[in-house]
Symmetry: C2
């Protein structure tokens, strides 16, 4: 089950840091943050628990590294999805879809990134960045004349909370008779981004 580990050669002790991070990440992703215990990580890596202290000062530091990672990956995915579209409505939709994709694929990473942050975990600017992408997307719709939003920031906020609520409740209450995810996304962006009818939005609404 646990392959025998041989000690890293001199000067490459840093490799263990990555192994620890990997184990911690997979533990948190598979079983939730509270399952990421130092002893659990040590068991998974195949080391003694105190060895972690050579690489992270305490559990919070390790957790904080995971949060940063999750936020960065989240932002990257959303950003890539949005950048792949040229039409502003398509881009907004792609961003929302990427958000929910991430949340559904890795609910525990989502909890890590957006869950209650302990006071001792620093809030990285990456969190803000993903939100700024959303504001810009709404703004782009306005500039393209397909949205009548007068307050892209507030509209983006509304979209954010809706996506977040859906992500959480969908994960948490699988028994609820959820409408299809892209129908929800359609409702959210059309309703909350003040979209007027546009070729893109008309095409989408004909899909269902």
């Amino acid at each position: 089950m646990m392959t025998t580990r041989s000690r890293n050669p001199r000067g490459e002790g840093g490799k263990l840091r990555d192994e620890i991070l990997n184990a911690a990440r997979s533990l948190a992703e598979e079983q939730g943050v509270q399952a990421m215990t130092l002893r659990g990580v040590a068991r998974r890596v195949g080391i003694a628990a105190p060895s972690i202290y050579s690489h992270f000062p305490d559990r919070d530091a390790l957790l904080s590294a995971l949060v940063d990672e999750a936020l960065a990956e989240f932002t990257t995915e959303v950003s890539a999805a949005m950048g792949a579209e040229t039409d502003p409505v398509d881009s907004l939709r792609a961003g929302c879809t990427a958000y929910l994709d991430f949340a559904m694929r890795r609910p525990n990473s989502c909890q890590l990134a957006f869950g209650p942050l302990d006071a001792n975990l620093t809030m990285t600017p990456s969190g803000t960045t993903a939100f700024e992408l959303l504001v810009n997307a709404v703004d782009a719709c306005v500039r393209a004349g397909v949205s009548v939003s007068t307050d892209p920031f507030a509209d983006a906020t509304a979209i954010w909370v809706a996506l977040h609520g859906y992500a959480i409740l969908h994960t948490t209450r699988p028994a609820f008779p959820w409408p299809p995810t892209d129908a929800i996304i359609g409702r959210i962006i059309h309703g909350l981004a003040s979209l007027s009818a546009s070729p893109s939005s008309r095409r989408q609404s004909q899909l269902r």
Copy 2:
């Protein structure tokens, strides 16, 4: 700090059940579900921890009682707020306001009622009931001719997730520059309940 307790008279041992429930509720409300430990409850009531077992078979049973309570209180509040209005849009708005009021006043009860349910906690029908109120409210708007919604269920779902997301993120990220709560509610119900302009909605939008 902890007043000396005298043992309940014969036949009134059931009183302790209420004291336990009260202590458990206040602990969960003030410090979150994970703070509701049997030893913590016992400390607060002023009894020995094993005494709880005369009234609840285990921690999960006590937790489950709290969940039922929180859901029932939530539903009652939302229902009362909606019933106080006659205009369907006002009623919908009042329901949403009551939802967020509850979530802001008692975030930990909200976590209890809507957070991840363990498999061993039964899902009471009360949760469904509050949601049904919402579906009915959207439906009432349609019947009154102020909503063009063609799918009140899906629209109610979208409103639900948006409210839920707002409640959670607002509590969890107080540093975010949130727009005023009723502005958010306005956006959510107008955008997601497919409301057309109505006297009521026009009055509301003039407010801000």
